[in-house]
Symmetry: C2
Amino acid sequence: MTYTIGQAARMFGLPVSTLRYYDREGLLPGMERRSGARVFGEKEIEALRVIECLKASGLEIREIRQFMAWTVEGPSTYPQRLALFQARRKALEEELGQLRRMLDMLKYKCWYYETACADGSEERVGAMAPDRFPPEIQALYDSAHSVG
Amino acid sequence: MTYTIGQAARMFGLPVSTLRYYDREGLLPGMERRSGARVFGEKEIEALRVIECLKASGLEIREIRQFMAWTVEGPSTYPQRLALFQARRKALEEELGQLRRMLDMLKYKCWYYETACADGSEERVGAMAPDRFPPEIQALYDSAHSVG
DNA sequence: GCTTGACCTGAAGTCAGGTTCATGGTCTAT
DNA sequence: ATAGACCATGAACCTGACTTCAGGTCAAGC
């Protein structure tokens, strides 16, 4: 199965211009063309999935280009590619930990403003010591206000 | 307890220039000064924690400024603030779901390249049908290759 | 009273990651 | 054979979020 750039763009929820930009930047090496038009095959679709997750892990375009260059270079670069995925996995796991703490903060703030709305004032909830919060809220508060 | 801009910057792992930029952009309204120098009190530290998590949820600086304007405006904006936190909570939960799928892809790729390294070639692992993967890898693969 | 280090300002500069524009080619259906 | 919906290009442009710079203030320690 192959796709046009428009179909691939819809599959990934990206503008066509972004896919062309990725190609220009060397993120889709060796793509086939039919009368000038790019042909997205299974290889390119998998490349887009990889781009998606490498980007999500915080990698920059130029580093993704480096990875794609390694895939072109062949088996001698397996160790680099493995090391890259291991490093990005670690980075993303740490990022997820941070984001869970951010989410706890948002949940705490939801409770805070629900309470303030109900009271018509922040006075009571703002003056309340954290150890008087409901237990599940206290856990959110602690997570959101813990060190680093 | 109060802090200088340098101390606050260290607390949040941010450059001093970023805190000044936030102040300039209206993200730290009504901050006290002592002979010209900004004084970061509990209010500002909590504001920085809120900025941190609103940013993490995908909010732009100008939208965070809007929120800070609401906190200055008083109790009449509790409903807007609550709605904002609820919306950002939802957005971040969805983002976390996406990132977990990205992490599954990274884990799958780690396994893929571990196997390729061990084999000295991608041939075997690349030709293997997903239903022949080890069960835990199959779960990662399915998660990473499921519809958006 | 002078040096040092940390603070201040407004204006300009930087960078990544796209996006837009002007112009033109190619297919498919009517 | 013409319209409409795709596709293409290079170059210029844009945006958000900082960062840097030049020049100045202030408090503390020697």
